[in-house]
Amino acid sequence: MDMDDFEAQLKRLPLARPSEGFRRRIFGDKPGGSWFVGLFSRRIPVGWAAAFALAAGIAGMSDSQMWGGGAAAPLQPVVNVQIIRSPSDRNLFDFTVPAKDFMPGELTVNVQAPKEI
């Protein structure tokens, strides 16, 4: 028998396999193997994703009426109160000490009306 025949004869011998259930042992440990992760790792056709995004966009733009909200609540003006200066060293906002003070100084109030969309 020459070397090629010998090689071919050896190659024909069937190899042993890992034990029963070994495949499950490997792929059971695979990350993403659970049904929950698998659910989110599925591929979604681009057309479906685009249609879903379009529907979500239209729903968002439709003034919330599709959710049964009716007319939107009136927008409230924003009021900023700003104390520029306190003439005394005492903390005028310390209400733990009884005091009767007139708060001198300059008080600026900005009222900003929101723009209607």
Binding site: M1, M3, L13, P14, R17, P18, R25, I26, D29
Partner: protein, 153 residues
């Protein structure tokens, strides 16, 4: 990864077995290599060669970790579940071939398993073992000659 396992599961097992000499350690090595493979961020260009290298490295780790000297390779390397139609001659060849593989040096045995059974090219084996292609080819030829001599006696 599952395709690699389905296609080369037996070959990976035999390659790991050629290093560890024990089926339980060989399975542990494959398991470890696949677990590492699952965390790859990029698929290697030659996934098959990568997995064989990874299994071999894991098998060497297993061997060092468990420090076992008893070799049961002979009992596991070939499929022993022979059907009734299988010739007695082939059964005998399997037993003798397994014994002959054990007579080889580690380098020769691994190279024969990797080239003959796992269909890895000499170049792939040389890359894996970080040796020249000539060295690998020589291990293979020498090992095959020794096996043939052993089986013809």
């Amino acid at each position: 990864m599952e395709k690699i396992y389905d296609q080369y599961g037996s070959q990976l097992f035999t390659c790991a077995l050629a290093v560890t000499g024990r089926s339980d350690s060989a399975e542990d090595a494959i398991h470890e290599a696949f677990c590492r493979g699952f965390h790859l961020t990029e698929v290697p260009l030659n996934l098959k060669a990568y997995m064989f290298r990874s299994v071999r490295n894991a098998a060497i780790d297993q061997l060092r970790r468990k420090n076992r000297t008893t070799s049961l390779f002979e009992d596991y390397v070939f499929d022993s579940s022979a059907g009734p139609s299988e010739l007695a001659e082939q059964n005998q060849l399997k037993r003798h071939a397994a014994k002959a593989l054990l007579k080889l040096s580690e380098d020769e045995r691994e190279t024969i398993v990797q080239h003959l059974y796992a269909d890895l090219t000499f170049q792939e084996i040389a890359d894996m073992r970080q040796r020249s292609i000539g060295t690998v080819a020589s291990w293979y030829r020498r090992g095959l000659t020794k096996m043939k001599d052993y089986l013809e006696v």
